[in-house]
């Protein structure tokens, strides 16, 4: 084969969402040469840009607060499984990152000169900052894009889908990627690499994140020798938009409405129902995500769903003026979708939203493989079995900044570029491979995997469903085969989907296997065959990739912690 395109850098950042951009900025500030790449466009394709919600941070701008209170709420929401050093880092450094974003001109909503902090479920006091109207994520992305563009030392390249990390002598030394525009193979030599690829919500049929979040980083990390933690804990957002059909809006948009206006959650008979599951809301918004998801699904199972199979969310008690004051132009966007909240409820249902699990990292964001760091949602552990609302963008910023700094420090200690082209050979052969033949429809295979994950590995689980899922994942893995279908060519989505499925099936298997092994219910993992939370399961499951098989290990450190 022809020599691949090649480039080199000190720090390679894979994924240009909130965490990746902050990592690139901080690595460059430390003096490192940075290459920031994304499978999509720079700063547009991750989860951050879609977040219309709020950011939890103990600023104390309105109500006195301290990071330790935020930390206590984060640990409580995590149902005993949080990686405490990571949760502490998130809460302790959150205010600093939020203030830096403020200095960069993000425009946090203010009242009388002070940053406004809203009350959100699971928090002991008003703690969540935002940008009006429903504009938090786009504002975070735009601000970071602007800073990336004016920071010397950052190169950017979009349309690069990383196929494998390149490991030499046990260290990550760069990456091999598919250049979507041409179909060519690209090698990148890097002294340090940061995975900021986000979560795995694309594994599910209904999800709230972009089509890029297929768990790529988890698969890349596993194959490079890193471990994953807490993979069974997928957060479902309880009130994802279901009906009527709505375009141009993030499906989790109803959360800010509830922060500001309350809103009533009703079953198909227009009755309030959360109190049946031990949680009385009385029109206020206090229910954590795991409990609300459980209540809605149980109500649907009992035959009391709304017409499209979810629950009603009603703001009919709010006046047009109150709605307009809280949401301004968003009310007009709803009107374009024929939605008038003063006279009709909308239908909502749980939707895959965020992954608590991810790559195992320490408080420097270092993985167990030298040269490899992780940032943002790609990191597992900080949020335990259930993430507190508002913590996702905080962790993107805090973990991104820390990962960039750590990667730059590691790179500064390496004199010669450690990359050796011959080590990348197998990955480059795969990128250039012509698997021939028509092959199955890759887009349809992804649809099938999403259906399996939604139906068998959703919020409510049991052994039979999880075993069916594992069998289905195995069938799809066999159908995918060893080589991509057809020859490399320009912007070939089928080829990209083949590589996506290679990652998605590996990660889906890790989620289903850890969910099957955890014989209890805790947070976002609810087993109908094991409905109780068991003290003996206050352990984290660690996933390894050994001899092309997934291996699960229970983390003894957490056991010792629980025993104290």
């Amino acid at each position: 084969m022809a020599n691949p395109l090649h480039t080199s850098t000190d720090v390679l950042v894979i994924g240009a969402g909130g965490a990746g951009m902050y990592a690139a900025i901080d690595a460059a500030r430390q003096g490192a040469r940075v290459l920031l790449i994304d499978r999509s466009l720079i700063g547009r394709g991750g989860a951050t840009v879609m977040a219309q919600m709020t950011v939890a941070v103990a600023l104390g701008a309105q109500t006195p607060d301290h990071w330790s209170h935020h930390y206590a709420d984060t640990l409580a929401a995590g149902r005993g499984l949080c990686a405490e050093p990571l949760a502490r880092l998130l809460c302790e450094e959150g205010p600093d990152c939020i203030r830096e974003m403020d200095a960069w001109g993000i425009g946090w909503a203010r009242r009388d000169g002070r940053i406004v902090q809203a009350q959100a479920p699971g928090h002991d006091r008003p703690r969540c900052v935002y940008v009006d109207f429903l504009n938090t994520g786009p504002a975070v992305s735009k601000t970071l894009r602007t800073v990336v563009n004016r920071t010397a030392g950052i190169r950017k390249a979009g349309d690069l889908a990383v196929v494998d990390l390149i490991v030499a002598d046990g260290e990550v030394t760069g990456a091999a990627a598919l250049h979507l525009v041409t179909g060519a193979a690209v090698t990148i030599a890097a002294k340090a690499t940061v995975l900021a690829t986000g979560g795995l919500t694309r594994l599910y049929r209904r999800n709230s994140a972009s089509a890029n979040m297929g768990g790529d980083g988890y698969a890349l990390a596993l194959r490079a020798g890193a471990t994953l933690v807490d993979m069974e804990f997928v957060q479902f957002f309880p009130i994802g938009h279901l009906a009527p059909r709505l375009i141009g809006m993030d499906p989790i948009m109803w959360d800010p409405f509830r922060y500001k206006l309350g809103g009533r959650l009703l079953n198909g008979n227009k009755e309030e129902f959360t109190s049946r599951y031990g949680s009385d809301e009385s029109g206020k918004y206090v229910l954590t995500r795991d409990l609300a998801t459980y209540a809605i699904i149980k109500e649907v199972d009992a035959g009391r769903s709304s017409p499209h199979g979810g629950a009603y969310l009603s703001f009919e008690h709010c006046s047009a003026a109150a709605l307009r004051a809280a949401f301004g132009p968003v009310i007009d966007r709803l009107a374009k979708n024929d939605i008038d909240l003063t006279r009709m409820p909308v239908e909502v249902a749980p939707i895959a939203h965020y992954h608590m699990g991810g790559i195992t990292a320490d408080a420097r964001m270092a993985t167990n493989v030298p040269g490899l760091y992780a940032a943002g949602e790609a990191v597992g552990g900080a949020n335990g079995a259930n993430r507190l609302s508002g913590n996702a963008i905080t962790e993107a910023l805090v973990f991104g900044r820390r990962a960039g700094r750590s990667a730059a420090e590691w790179a500064a200690g390496i004199a010669a570029q450690p990359f050796r082209p011959e080590v990348a050979r197998a990955s480059l052969d795969l990128i250039a491979a012509d698997g021939g033949g028509a092959g199955p429809n890759t887009a349809e295979m992804i649809t099938k995997l999403q259906a399996t994950m939604a139906d068998e590995v959703g919020p409510l689980r049991d052994a039979a469903r999880l075993r069916r899922a594992l069998a289905r994942i195995e069938e799809l893995t066999v159908a995918l085969g060893e080589r991509p279908f057809g020859a490399p060519t320009a912007f070939d989505l089928r080829r990209l989907e083949w590589f996506d499925l290679r990652n998605m099936l590996l990660v889906a298997g890790a989620v289903a296997a850890t969910a099957l092994a955890r014989q209890e219910s805790r947070g976002a993992h609810q087993r109908e065959d094991f409905p109780e939370t068991e003290a003996s399961w206050r352990v984290n499951q660690i996933v390894h990739w050994r001899d092309s098989e997934l291996a699960l290990v229970r983390n003894p450190a957490a056991v010792e912690m629980a025993a104290q």
Partner: protein
Amino acid sequence: MTEHAQLKIWRGVDRAAGRWERYEVPFEPGQSVLDGLRWIRANRDPSLAIRFSCINANACKECMIELDGKTVYACTARLEPREMMLAPLANKPLLRDLVTEIAPPAERLS
């Protein structure tokens, strides 16, 4: 209630040697043109090249195409029960089918 849109889609990698292909796409009122394109890929022809990321949040700005000669986001343009002509942006370099090079020059591999 299922209706059908007739999507006439420009296909090819060379503007001088392209072709129009027709697809009949079932949809429910309220669905987007991008929903229709994704349906075609999953049910008829996965070789159709389109570009999108956020799917329907109007956040990523990647799915710009020409619909009946006007520039739209495929994720916010609605499917309608009629013939709709979809073409790549005329003022950007063509990559394949409906995909054009929309990244700023400083954000491309070089």
